[in-house]
Amino acid sequence: MKTDSDGFSDSMSGSTELASVVEARKAGRYSPLKFHYEMIRSELEEIVGTDHISTEDSDRLIYSSDWFWAPQMWLDRGHPLPLPDYIVHPGSADEISQILEIANKYDIPVIPWGGGSGTQGGALSLYGGIIVDLKRLDQIIDIDEQSLTVTAQAGINGTQLEWALNERGLTLPHYPASANCATLGGYLAPRGSGTISTKYGKAEDLVLTMQVVLPNGRVIRTPGVPNHASGPDYMRLFLGSEGTLGIITEATMQVDYLPETRLLRALLFDDLGNAIEAGRRMMTRRLDPMVIRLYDPDSTALRLKAILDLELEGAYMVVGFDGDPDIAALQEEKAMEICSDLGARDLGREPGERWWNHRYDFYYPPKNLKMPWMFGTTESVSTFDKIKRIWEAQKVAVEEGYSDWDVTYIAHFSHWFHWGSAMYSRFIIEQPPEDAEEAIRLHNRIWNTAVSASLENGGMINEHHGVGLKLGRYMRRQYGEGWNLLLTLKQAIDPNGIMNPGKVGFGR
């Protein structure tokens, strides 16, 4: 979309046309482009109402960045980002449908926006366009206490939804660190995981059905339950599509009763391999832990000191069981036997409970990763036979490859499956280049190194953060020939390419 903004690098960035627009603006004249821009604004305003559309510079500026390090760094260094042209706050799926019709008609990019808490740049308006902020869709439609489901609009805030369920003695067992800021749609669109996904599954495992507005404006509802055999489960196309194939506007989620008990316990292993093996045995023996959080030795030394004030050497593990008190106690007992057999030292309940109670403190300032630091989460997921090898390969590649920058590589194993585990690895450079261009290039080179180490050792590049802009360039390499299938689907579903262009590896 071409606008006559002051040239904050929107779709016309660098063009002579832009220069003339800026000159005209400086001279106090509206450019010819402004005419069309205003006409489209009026069309959007007719749909959502005057109170629910903004083209104010301050709003465009704030909506120009999500939680991805690169745009945050760019702003931090005083450089402007590509700006959205319009920000709309629709109040219904029907309004979104009409917005998409306009976007198709004028070939305008559409970027869905939930909480803006994504770390992959999935909400950046790279080509300008319309930000569709879903937060007005914040209603709980139904809580079914017989089937244990909640149906809610996609813009509802995660913690607010949880509070409402808690009033009925229920919980949505999806506890991501971003719950305070993320939305239900934001849980689903990038296939997010929460702290207790090891027992309860990822957000995608908790969803029964969704309402989705397709790029052509049609509103569909997926089948009422996911576990059917009536052909392919097309609902899953939208899980992980991050707004490139449509906009999730409503979802029915499985909920649970608030557990009667939560048992947390901390352990320390001298050897990371033994700790991973302990986790493997707990999972393959179906002990059903709600959480196994295993920190590698560097992470144990750095993060546990910072967050929990614990000074330990080794691999720190927190194991948790919940639900019926008797069953949870027995599961814990069996888990402790496994850990003991593998040489773990039982640190008791207190440090485990302290971890549980403070597990999100890391995201509050000044404990959080912050500017001017450089950081990135290079997580992988793989089967048990490969996961330690991926950790070793990433660690060596990052630490040895970027030793000049005094890089710190830490990892924890956060989400476990019957067949494997997610490894949440991260690099941190406390004194990155001051120059923004140099910083972004270094950041991306480290990413290439870490992702290559993962792919070459059989890892998938990501378990729960999604792809966004950051990982799009790896999709063909990750999927091989399968990527062409996704490209074909994208072309069929969104022929004009209006939906969140530049994300998930799809272009404009």
């Binding site: 005083g78 706050h89 300032p365």
Partner: protein, 365 residues
């Protein structure tokens, strides 16, 4: 006093962890009008990516200064104080909304935002003092009468001061720290003149002002040895101890309790008003969704002057919350909150009951 409070914005600009409790963010659904949005605006202005113009200043003045973000921050980042400091910079540059300068003149001359009338000088002395303030004095004096009756029932006869004077919070919130300090200084001088060792306040807002804001925002130390106490928790303790006796009300209306504006800034006070209401009401007060540590404010904030539509929305949201829990009336103790609730309650077919008035009417004979 917090050193360089505006620097807090640098820390908060990339944190989204308090988004869920920001009443303005939730009402407007606008990313800019949320804690990280305000922090970003402040930090981006410093980086030359934005300027303080009518549009950005309007956004800056949309923060309610209710304290929710800080109350829910595990590291207690003083973002409200940073926003107040940023507003002060805007005021200095003569870029604030016109109403801010109008309110500055009003407060400078009359020491309250409501009427053209000076405060009543304090002339009592006692071991115990009670701050009256402007809202109670000018808008709802029945609150004071009832509170004094309740205190007398437990043997407390306070000297009154600040009769008709703002705490200084409003001025601070508008970005007028010098004026706020002058008002606060006068209040403290009057307090000193009473000779009191115990200072009672009627609301969480006044408790915040004397107990935290004077020090953090204004660099003003309270007189040493003076104990600050809110009347409601004091009365609840007296009830518990068997020193306060209340009769049950005949009123069968299903009331919801509205935690008053600024209640989130006083985390230990939430149970006290409920305990007192349970002693008087026929059935326990209904609980709003936004209650206790997540209580939203009513509109009696600086917003009432700078962003009246937002102020109204805040109050209406409290009333809608009450309707949603099937209440037929609302109760609260803060005079400012009561005035705002009463203004819009008829549209929601809700009664508004003063907390102190209800309790005083049911003192056991």
């Amino acid at each position: 006093m917090i050193d360089n409070p505006i620097d807090v914005a640098e820390r908060c600009r990339h944190s989204l962890m308090c988004r869920h409790v920001c009443p303005i963010g939730n009402l407007t659904h606008n990313e800019t009008l949320s804690p990280h949005g305000w922090a970003q605006l402040i930090s981006l202005e410093r980086r030359g990516l934005s300027t303080w113009n009518e549009e950005t200043v309007d956004a800056l003045y949309a923060c309610a200064d209710c304290g929710s973000c800080r109350a829910h921050c595990v590291t207690s980042q003083a973002l409200p104080e940073a926003i107040a400091a940023a507003r002060a910079e805007v005021v200095e540059r003569q870029a604030a909304p016109a109403v801010v300068y109008e309110m500055e003149a009003q407060l400078r001359k009359w020491e309250n935002p409501h009427v053209q009338e000076k405060p009543v000088p304090a002339d009592d002395t006692s071991d115990v003092a009670l701050f009256v303030g402007d809202d109670v004095h000018f808008l709802r004096p029945s609150v004071l009468e009832a509170a004094l009756k309740l205190l007398a029932a437990v043997g407390v006869e306070p000297a009154l001061f600040g009769k008709g004077r703002s705490t200084g919070y409003l001025a601070s919130s508008l970005g007028l720290p010098d004026l706020a300090r002058d008002l606060a200084d006068t209040n403290v001088e009057e307090l000193n003149a009473t000779g009191a060792r115990k200072l009672f306040v009627l609301t969480p807002g006044a408790y915040f002002a004397f107990g935290q804001m004077y020090d953090e925002r204004l660099g003003l130390r309270m007189p040493s040895g003076v104990e600050l106490m809110e009347v409601v928790p004091f009365l609840a303790a007296k009830l518990e101890a068997g020193d306060l006796h209340l009769d049950k009300s005949d009123d069968a209306v299903a009331y919801a309790y509205v935690d008053p504006t600024h209640a989130v800034r006083v985390p230990d006070r939430h149970e006290a008003p409920r305990r007192l209401l349970r002693a008087v009401l026929q059935s326990p007060p209904k609980e709003l969704f936004w209650r206790n540590e997540r209580a939203y404010p009513c509109g009696n904030l600086a917003l009432a002057f700078t962003q009246p539509a937002l102020s109204q929305s805040l109050t209406e949201a409290r009333l809608k919350d009450a309707v949603d829990v099937e209440a037929h009336g609302v109760i609260t103790e803060d005079a400012g909150s009561l005035v705002h609730l009463e203004k819009y309650a008829p549209s929601f077919d809700l009664r508004v009951q003063g907390f102190y008035e209800l309790l005083a009417a049911h003192l056991a004979s």
